[in-house]
Amino acid sequence: MTVRDLLKRTPFRLAATFSLFFLTTVLALFTVVYLGASARLVSDIRDRVEATLDSLAVLDGDKTFDDLVTVVAGESESVRDPDFIIELVDKNGNFLAGNVRGVRQSDHWMTLKRADILPTMDRGEPDDEFLAIWRPLSKGRLLVGSDNSEVKQMKLFLLKVLGYGLLATSAALVLCAIYLARQTQHRIDAFANPLARASQGHTTARVPISGLQDDIDQVALQVNRMLGNLQRLIENVNQSSSDIAHDLKKPVGRLRQRLDDARRKAGNVEEFKGAIDAALLDIDSITETFDALLRITQIEAGARKARFVTVDLKILLAEVQDVYDIVAEDAGDQLSFTAALSGPAHVRGDPELLVQLFANLVENSIRHCPAGTEISLALSAKDDAYVIEVADTGPGIPEPERDNVFRRLYRLERARSTAGSGLGLSLVAAIVELHGAKITLQDNAPGLLAKVKFPLS
């Protein structure tokens, strides 16, 4: 992996940025500590020098000046290897006493090299320095300076300590960053592989969940949900496609047979006409299947929502009952409608599709139930929803089949003898979904109870 590749990895970039920021902060902190400590050491030395000057300056005065000269001379003599320097001069700058001579005059603090002022000393480093200052007295000037080398040593020590500290911190930081970056990178890499597999068509591929329930797990859950939906959709499409092919093969085969029969056997124009009429009916039923499939697809696409208006379910259901009561009567059934609410039942919806929804349910009951069935349409309001129940006393749908019947082109075994595309309930489901409603099929003991719930708008 090249550096450029590494830079493209988010966890590495994050870790690197964080490390850099942290190191800069540590460096700034160390600088402050170093500068603060140095300044403190220097000011300590200066205080010491000033204190010495103060104690000697006590002897400043007409009577005691000679004593001062004596004291300074004594101090100079007693210290053979001075870590401090002292020089007393008269008003004209002539040397009176001290362990150094001819230090240049200045009103400010001076840093003096040991080699410059104490050339004869055989101990100490020539680069050692003294911090010194002149104090004006009544009859001359007094210089006191203190060895600065402990400051230098202290500074060196500080630099060492801080340097090692910085090094240790950096090392720990880099290790930590590498660890974090790798951990995160691993989890990100764990995404890439299943996703690559999914894009190659392995719809069962899923992203691993670490169980930490963190943000990455949240994303992983979403991705898995998406992959699951994708898998279902693809299976749906595959299933639909093969179902369509299968479902169309039969009528097309029948059509071919019919035409073939007519071609071989029909003896007169009437017989040909009859065969053609039957063939046209076959084609119409094939077309109808396509039409229903396309309608379902379009309804599922949701464009119709733009045309939603306020619909009174009470009026709509009464119309459905009005259209179908004599149809049911002719089939030997009974169709009733009861509304268990006094006011209107307003929902937002597409009236055309809603009529088709309930017409389909009622027609299913009429077509799939034996004569003498009681079919009832009932409207009520329950728990923030309008509930429409279409119930019959027919054979019903066995429990394990109740979800399957909403699948496209799915037909119950016993319904195969009845004409139908196996799309009626799929269309119902699509319309229900479009309106944000829910449909469930239940046992009406005996018969089927289709329950459609519209949330109150």
């Binding site: 464009a303 045309r307 002719d330 055309e352 027609e363 139908g420």
Partner: protein, 225 residues
């Protein structure tokens, strides 16, 4: 009748044009949208049959263009299979009727005939009469040979639609749309059942049929003379 046919599919166009010409109509077939607008504006057609999807110009745009120029000629537009919104959009744009492809020729013919006589129908007519059957649209009274016949509202609406189009065939689909506002194909015999109920009240007791079934096409009302 002079009919303008706008259809880019040569096979469909030939099928429609030939069928209409055999029925005695004159058909001008144009495949291009821009030429069609010019023809619709300059010529005097009785009906325009228009494909919803055309090269160069959308069928909807054509209807809108000629309508905004004041051309009132009835337009029947053909929509693709399963186009749920096409019908509403087409009618909104100013179309008068629609037909979903593929269609039976009898369906097309019935709709063209029904459309062509539209401008002549007296919209303010309140009484319709076929033979000795009479309906009053205001009092909603139905009489035959002096007897008052009691009809359900839906039966009245069915008879009214048939009587308004007397002498013309109304297909099952046309009746579903106009009487019940059903824009889908019911799986039960809704139309047949209602027609038979209507016949039982209007025709049966009087010995002479006024409501006729045209096999393979639909229904029509006429007094047979």
């Amino acid at each position: 009748m002079r009919i303008l046919l706008l259809e880019d599919d040569a096979n469909t166009a030939a099928y429609v044009a030939k069928g209409l010409e055999e029925e005695g109509h004159t058909v001008d077939h144009i495949a291009d949208g821009r030429q069609a607008v010019a023809a619709a504006m300059s010529e005097n057609y009785d009906v325009i049959i228009l494909d919803r999807m055309l090269p160069n110009l959308d069928g909807l745009a054509i209807i809108k263009t000629i309508r905004s120029a004041g051309q009132r000629v009835p337009v029947l537009f053909l929509t693709a299979l399963g186009g749920v919104d096409d019908r509403v959009e087409g009618l909104d744009a100013g179309g008068d009727d629609y037909l979903v492809k593929p269609f039976a020729f009898s369906e097309l013919l019935a709709r063209v005939n029904a459309l062509a006589r539209r401008p002549h129908a007296k919209a303010d007519e309140t009484r319709l009469k076929v033979g000795d059957l009479e309906i009053d649209l205001v009092s909603r009274r139905v009489t035959r040979g002096g007897d008052t016949i009691d009809l359900q509202p839906r039966e009245f609406r069915l008879l009214e639609v048939l009587m308004r189009n007397q002498g013309h065939i109304l297909t099952r689909t046309m009746l579903l749309e106009r009487v019940w506002s059903f824009h889908f194909d019911p799986k039960t015999s809704v139309v047949e059942t209602h027609i038979s109920r209507l016949r039982a009240k209007v025709d049966k007791p009087y010995g002479k049929e006024l409501i006729h079934t045209i096999r393979g096409s639909g229904y029509t009302v006429h007094d047979g003379s």
